[in-house]
């Protein structure tokens, strides 16, 4: 039988980051994916590091991620296109101002420096912004990277350090004996390991359920687009006018936002990720936010399916029942969180403990979650934009 110290289920950025740190530490690590590495959310994300400024319980892990991001290219040996150029939230028109003020109040809960700025200052940071932008919140902290290159950088670096990635190898069972994890089942045979990490993105709940562990998540399909390349216009990671947007190193504007459909996923099938006509409205928002670029072509769109936890905070825990099972779900901001989340997983896998701040991110916080939480939120499959 194949054996490993640690089997990781899911070769998205979380599994690959965990695998990288484990391989670097000398562990025998195997990352399995039902499809190809890094073809789901991780390569479809916008590429921001969310600082979780409104979540004091989660911000410390984001700040740890930021420190790792700042030297990640050297660490991995491959480019991620990370740029620590700050973040900017803008209000386009009066109706967005209240939301901005509320966000700013929320941001005061952590020690991260955020500044409330006026429209003029927003346009100094990003001159292409519409004159209708009336204010913003700025922080020089954080930034953005290229999701496709970053996930690939983790994959290459993991292999350079002796880790293995096995693609098209779905996990269909988790073996437990005497309260301890002993390995995973796949159609191509079992792999034994004393530690199994569930980092299966949208399928995290389904995979964890194989070990009778309930991880509460709802899954949702989101759409994103890019324009043709433009000369450099702005370098902050921006939120405003109904969009999240960044300009890539190549010059394309990469943006997403808008209504989304709650969906169902299967354990081993690739979820359908169709685009819908809403991408026209998404495009309209970019033309409104930056009227000077309305003649630039929209080049491509795509969609991604991701999992959301009930409080939209990361779940990261090494369980004691069954012992050796680690679950990780980053609830829609896993791209930015990946360096520190992966490092925490690697430490938990090797030492049962981690120096990283994850105390508040365990599953016990959901012990009083009502069984019908998805229905109450209208987060059930088929629901749109609620």
């Amino acid at each position: 039988m194949e054996t490993a110290d640690v089997v990781i289920v899911g070769a998205g950025i979380i599994g690959l980051s965990a695998g990288y740190w484990l391989a670097k530490a000398g562990a025998k690590v195997v990352v399995l994916d039902k499809g190809r590495a890094a073809q789901e959310s991780s390569s479809r994300a916008t590429g921001f590091l969310s600082l979780r400024g409104e979540e004091p319980l989660e911000a410390p892990l984001a700040l740890a991620a930021e420190r790792l991001w700042n030297t990640l290219d050297e660490e991995l040996g491959y480019p991620t296109e990370w740029r620590q150029k700050g973040r900017l939230w803008v209000a386009l028109g009066e109706h967005e101002r209240d939301a901005l003020d509320e966000k700013y109040r929320g941001f005061l809960n952590t020690g991260i420096p955020f500044e409330r700025i006026d429209g003029e200052r927003c346009r100094e940071i990003a001159p292409s912004l519409s004159p209708a932008v009336i204010g913003g919140i700025h922080t020089p902290r954080s930034g953005h990277a290229n999701p496709q290159r970053t996930t690939q950088a983790f994959a290459w670096a993991l292999r350079d350090r002796g880790g293995a990635i096995i693609e098209e190898r779905p996990v269909t069972g988790i073996h437990v004996a005497g309260g301890k994890v002993t390995g995973v089942a796949t159609p191509a045979g079992d792999i034994s390991a004393g530690v199994v990490v569930v980092a299966a993105g949208a399928q995290t709940s389904k995979v964890a359920a194989l070990a009778h562990v309930e991880v509460p998540t709802a899954t949702v399909r989101l759409e994103a687009c890019v324009t043709a390349p433009l000369p450099p216009l702005f370098d902050v990671a921006m939120v405003g006018g109904g969009l999240s947007l960044r300009q890539t190193r190549r010059g394309n504007i990469h943006f997403n936002g808008g209504p989304h459909e709650w969906v169902d996923v299967e354990l081993t099938e690739e979820p359908a990720k169709p685009n819908t006509p809403i991408l026209r409205n998404i495009a309209r928002r970019l033309a409104e936010l930056m009227p000077g670029i309305r003649d630039i072509p929209l080049l491509r769109s795509w969609a991604g399916v991701l999992e959301v936890t009930p409080d939209q905070m990361t779940i990261l825990e090494r369980l004691s029942d069954p012992d050796g099972l680690i679950v990780a779900s980053c609830s829609g901001h896993g791209f930015g969180m990946a360096p520190s989340a992966g490092l925490a997983i690697s430490e938990l896998a090797q030492h049962r403990r981690t120096s990283l701040p994850i105390e508040a991110l365990g599953l016990s916080r959901f012990s009083t979650l009502p069984r019908d939480w998805k229905a109450r939120r209208r987060w059930e499959p088929g629901r749109y934009n609620t």
Binding site: Q39, Y78, P79, E81, Q148, R149, A155, W156, R159, E168, V220, R221, A228, P229, V239, G240, G242, L243, S244, R249, R250, G257, G258, P259, H260, E261, V263, P271, A272, K273, P274, N275, T276, P277, L279, R280, N281, A283, R284, R285, L286, A287, I293, R294, I296, P297, L298, L299, R300, S301, V305, Q312, G332, P370, R376, R377, R378, P381, Y384, N385
Partner: protein, 501 residues
């Protein structure tokens, strides 16, 4: 037309699309026919749907004149108008949307269309995709010069836009498309400077080849192109003998002002692909083509693909009768389903391997690589060379400093299937403004070679909406509802009360 009549959308007003629209209208169905011609110069400059190249004659900016020429050249379209078909010209279809798994909120099936000013959605009950073929492009030094273009682009400019902009043509390839184009060019009074072909014999119809030879066209058999000659525009071509080895043979310079690529044509499958129709590799149909049944219906009920879009053949390059038969069959099948016709139409001929075009053009690629080397660009938009592609080199804006992953092509290959999407994401080949139309097949062929697998085993790159690059201000809807504006979420809604919000 009765209120209750089902809506049939036809995309593409070539022989197949016009025949489908006309037949469907004849059954009393409510038909809308959409075609992107006449195109704006800005759209042509993106090399969609054909490889027009960068020599776009000034007259192409004269919209009124061009509209007269293009519409006047399309008899089928005029017949459709007379038959009461709603005809939308200068209108491209950029997406097909279906209510289905994970898009259940969509009310019905619809096509996204756009003209130069605006975009809108057209609902349909049946969709007939007759989007034709596009040029299969391979490259050689100088291929970015004005005056280099694909045979389909050239044929369209010659016959429809009357704006080819050259007089002396070198044609690369000797299949039926190459020969038919040479024939059309001669009868338009142009000169054929030569027809080059790396194989030792003419690939297309022998009688037509003889006819051309008698009219003075010279065939350079056993020859490939080493480079396009000229400063600022094409003034000639340097041909090199090709004997099947890696070493280019004797060279010969052929003066010409236009170099026309007739390496091959592939079905234009972007729309069936984004709709979610199954697409399969089939050399008998010249590449990746939609899977269709005898009615030309795809794996998605109600969506049909007919004509060159369903497969390109050598015979079809000389005669559109097969394309028209497919269109009639599809229209009859729709009519039968709606109770407007009792029996099916005659079955259209099935593609056979013997009627296939010479796909993939392996000999062309080998000879072009032997004579042009590995540093020729594959992707003009993102400046990716053959070497960059097979070494999975980082894109130009990163290159100088970056290390290349060892054995990267092997890592893109899982169970014998290399992924073109992975290659695209890492090298950016195919991610530029032509949306991969100039490099898709070239890149897939190089990937197959580098991975040591058959082309059939390449997991071909995905197609993305919009299948034409459309300005933000055009694709944006003018009629957005106040409700949508009020409810628009930037990201997932923040968590509200347990009871919902």
């Amino acid at each position: 037309m009765s209120e209750a009549s089902k809506k049939v959308m036809v995309i593409g007003a070539g022989p197949a699309g016009c025949a489908a629209a006309l037949a469907a209208a004849g059954y009393g169905l409510d038909v809308t026919l959409v075609d992107e011609h006449p195109q704006a110069v800005s759209a042509m400059s993106l090399d969609a749907p054909y490889f027009y190249g960068s020599r776009l004659a000034p007259v192409l900016s004269n919209d009124g004149e061009i509209a007269d020429r293009v519409l006047g050249a399309n008899e089928g379209l005029m017949e459709c108008l007379d038959a009461g078909v709603e005809v939308l010209v200068g209108t491209s279809a950029w997406g097909v949307f279906r209510s289905g798994p994970n898009s259940r909120h969509l009310a019905g099936d619809q096509v996204g269309v756009a003209d130069r000013e605006r975009s809108w959605m057209l609902p349909f009950d049946y969709l007939v995709i007759a989007s034709g073929a596009r040029d299969l492009v391979l490259s050689f030094p100088g291929w970015e010069l004005p005056g280099v273009l694909g045979v389909m682009g050239a044929s369209m400019l010659l016959r429809s836009y009357e704006a080819l902009g050259g007089r002396s043509l070198l044609i690369l390839g000797s299949g039926n498309a190459a020969l038919a184009f040479a024939r059309d060019a001669l009868s338009a009074g142009l000169t054929i400077a030569g027809i080059a072909e790396p194989a030792p014999q003419v690939q297309g119809d022998a009688a037509l080849a003889r006819e051309l030879e008698e009219a003075g066209a010279r065939f350079y058999l056993g020859h490939t192109i080493q480079r396009a000659l000229g400063e600022g525009s094409v003034s000639g071509a340097r041909l090199a003998g090709h004997d099947g080895s890696d070493r280019p043979g004797q060279t010969i310079d052929v003066p010409c002002d236009t170099i026309c690529l007739a390496f091959g044509m592939v079905p234009n499958v972007e729309l069936p692909a984004v709709a979610g129709c199954a697409i399969g590799f089939d050399p008998a149909r010249s590449g990746w083509a939609p899977m269709v049944d005898a009615n030309m219906e795809t794996t998605l009920p109600g969506i049909f693909v007919v004509g060159d879009a369903a497969g390109v053949s050598e015979a079809g390059c000389l005669d559109s009768a097969g394309a028209v038969a497919q269109a009639h069959r599809a229209a009859a099948s729709i009519a039968m389903r709606e109770g407007l016709r009792a029996a099916p139409a005659d079955a259209p001929p099935r593609p056979t391997a013997s009627a296939a075009t010479h796909f993939p053009p392996d000999l062309w690629l080998s000879s072009l690589t032997a004579s042009g080397g590995m540093d020729v660009l594959v992707c003009q938009c993102e400046e990716v060379s053959r070497r960059d592609l097979v070494t999975v080199a980082p894109p130009a804006y990163l290159r100088a400093s970056e290390k290349i992953a060892p054995d990267a092509v092997t890592m893109l290959t899982v169970n014998g299937h290399p992924s073109q999407d992975s290659l695209k994401r890492l090298t950016r080949a195919g991610m530029g403004h032509c949306q991969g139309k100039r490099c898709r097949e070239h890149s897939a062929m190089l990937l197959a070679r580098a991975a040591g697998v058959d082309l059939a085993d390449v997991v071909t790159g995905s197609y993305r909406i919009p299948v034409r690059p459309i300005p933000l201000g055009v694709i944006a809807p003018a009629d957005e509802s106040a409700q949508m504006r009020a409810d628009w979420p930037v990201w997932l809604h923040p968590v509200a009360e347990e009871t919902g919000h």
